[in-house]
Amino acid sequence: MNFLYAAYAATWAIHIGYLITVARRYARLKREIDDMSRKDS
């Protein structure tokens, strides 16, 4: 049973970890866009 829970937990840890990296890249890009628009104005 422990192996089953470990496998399911690992699966979601991998997916959530990846989603966090995508969200962080989005946030960084948004900061860059804000900086660029501030420079323009």
């Binding site: 089953l4 991998i14 997916h15 995508v22």
Partner: protein
């Protein structure tokens, strides 16, 4: 689009929760392996999803290479149409010639021979219609990245199943080794895209992806071709499965497909946005020295 995404994300979350409930509660307990067999409901759908994403990566990379030259593009289109037609003709010929039919392995159905070519061609022309040249390159990066995530799940859940069932975490079996090689190929693809700043990077990466994709059929058919410790496939192979288990397996695959689709959509938008920002920054960098001179 901004309004649709959260709704689809919520529906997918509900669907994934239902699939998890099915896998843990509804699916019958396997008699010899016990509850640890339920890892199968995450392991197999993740593998199928990874294969599908790598297949899309292959099509996108191939299109990136051929669409840059109109002559090659035309040849590739006709080649795909020929493959689709040959696949149907081959199935018909095998069906009418008993000696050829008997020589065919039991696990390979005539219907799968007849449909493989048209499916490949169908996906190819669908990708061609939906994505521009820049779009197919972004699609290739997206599918490779999300495919690596799903392939990582396969490589992690596999040993967690093998330890209690086989008594070992890992064995250098053809199926397992070819899957590890597949993962390494696509990780190297992502490393190339991440760290190479050359203008030729998309072309080199596309060529790597086209050759790397050759490992996908090797992984898939390895259990038929080689003697292996890995269990036989439950669909279209030597293995068999309880219909209730098959239902849960397909529900989980569908849920993971929806999840992969949403993640790909999100990652694809990020890739396009990143390219737009990089282009704007490059333009600004070009214009800045001139304004400084003035």
């Amino acid at each position: 689009m901004k309004k649709v995404f959260p709704i689809l994300a919520l529906l997918t979350a509900i669907f994934l929760s239902y699939a998890l409930y099915d896998a843990l509660i509804v699916a019958p307990r396997e008699q010899t392996m016990g509850d640890v067999q339920r890892i199968f409901y995450y392991h197999v759908p993740s593998a199928w999803t990874a294969f599908l994403l790598f297949f899309l990566n292959f099509l996108a990379s191939l299109q990136y290479l051929v669409r840059r030259n109109p002559g090659t593009d035309k040849v590739a289109n006709w080649l795909l149409i020929t493959i689709a037609a040959l696949s149907c003709v081959a199935a018909a010929v095998i069906g009418f010639v008993p000696s050829l039919k008997s020589a065919l392995p039991e696990s390979i159905q005539l219907s799968s021979i007849a449909t493989t070519g048209p499916i490949i061609a169908g996906f190819y022309f669908l990708v061609r219609r939906l994505f521009s040249l820049e779009g197919v390159d972004a699609l290739a990066v997206t599918t490779a990245e999300v495919g690596v995530v799903f392939c990582t799940v396969v490589l992690v859940t596999g040993p967690l199943w093998a330890r209690p069932v086989w008594g070992i975490w890992w064995t250098w079996d053809v199926r397992l080794t070819s899957t590890l090689v597949l993962w390494l190929i696509y990780v190297s693809y992502l490393v190339l895209r991440r760290f190479s700043s050359s203008g030729q990077t998309p072309v080199l990466a596309a060529a790597l992806a086209v050759f790397g994709a050759l490992d996908v059929p090797l992984v898939y058919f390895s259990i038929w071709i080689f003697r292996t410790q890995h269990p036989q496939p439950v669909i279209g192979g030597g293995g068999s499965i309880d219909p209730r288990m098959l239902h849960v397996l397909l529900i989980n695959w569908l849920a993971f497909l929806c999840f992969a689709g949403l993640v790909c959509w999100s990652r694809y938008r990020l890739e396009l946005l990143k390219r737009q920002v990089e282009e704007t920054q490059a333009l600004e960098a070009l214009l800045e020295p001139r304004s400084a001179v003035r």
